[in-house]
Subunit: 205 residues, 2 copies
């Protein structure tokens, strides 16, 4: 599909946009033609923001969340409960949990889950630094909030083994029927687990 | 919605992506997190391609098509029929017509259509240069290939009046394209056939 336009510059820009996930060549062309109609100063702001986010961003030295500083805003916040650590796969999960406004603890971003099929082992993830945090003795509870997949379960179990000797309470987020979902469309595993892990009705009101 | 992330750099980059048409903040975040995982060299290629396409691109001095040179490949091609000029709204329409492989003439890109509602008058479009091309006496036929909208019809009629005195044959592409549809979304067969079956403009008014 390369070289189909009358301009190599146009071709290059469309090709670059089309490399982004979920952006096809037709959408890429639409975006580039939009950029051609924008002021040069606006386009400079766009390219500079992308350059800066890639080259200047930090990852929090404590929890590996995205940050502009050595320690992220959450880890640096004395109002958060630093004795409770929620383990997540990615920074997007941090954002999703923060959006619920239900959590006052801190995080630990693994950077993925153990997936032998994709060649991702424990050493490719931020698990050693999680163990260090547990070994430091300041953590009372680690909440495992990974995806409800085989890889997520494998990673949960691996972390459980690694942290076993530190006397840290390990919990996982509840699996069950999504709020608003109808029972008959729930998959059997989810429905089964939601029955086994049923909670006293009084807790839910 | 600004300032919702833990990093100002991330916030800026997401905000910039979200300015693009059809890109919401959720998609913008996905794109920025993708860029964070890319090699710096790859991201440099991306920003450089965007900078270059905005700053270095030319518009053909004859037909106003996008070009890397003073005169575009189509206008510079001696094999094209320079006596037949197809008038279109945008460079995307040139691409759409070229993709049909049904047309051997040259183009004239107006840069839009007359639209008083949007404050676009004849002087905002490349109509004077079209008249100059007609006045030069080298053009036998002008094919009007604008969108089948009220604005497109208005622009057709305006061009018809402007070119009336130059003895140029005026045709419009056949209304095989549904009224209200935009040219670039038409399928290639319909668009190609509508070019082959073009009719004298007088029949359409």
């Amino acid at each position: 599909m390369e070289g189909q336009y009358s301009s190599k510059l146009l071709d290059d820009a469309v090709g670059q946009f089309a490399k982004l996930p979920g952006i096809g060549r037709k959408t890429a062309l639409r975006l580039v033609l939009h950029i051609l109609r924008e002021e040069k100063e606006e386009v400079s702001l766009f390219t500079e923001a992308i350059r800066a986010v890639r080259n200047d961003i930090h990852y929090c030295t404590v929890c590996h969340n995205i940050s502009d500083t050595e320690t992220c805003d959450i880890c640096a916040n004395p109002q958060r409960d630093h004795g409770t650590v929620c383990v997540v796969e990615s920074v997007r999960d941090v954002m999703a949990i923060e959006a619920t406004r239900q959590y006052g603890g801190v995080y630990h971003v693994l950077g993925g889950v153990i997936s032998p099929m994709d060649g991702i082992g424990p050493d490719d993830l931020n698990i050693a630094s999680l163990e260090e945090r547990a070994a430091a003795g300041q953590i009372g509870e680690v909440i495992l909030a990974l995806s409800a997949t085989m890889e997520g379960d494998t990673t949960n179990f691996y972390i459980y083994k690694r942290l076993a000797s530190y006397g840290v309470k390990l919990t996982t987020i509840a699996r069950g029927i999504s709020v608003g979902d109808e029972l008959e469309y729930a998959d059997e595993v989810t429905l089964g687990r939601s029955l086994v892990n049923r909670v006293p009705f009084e807790q839910t009101i």
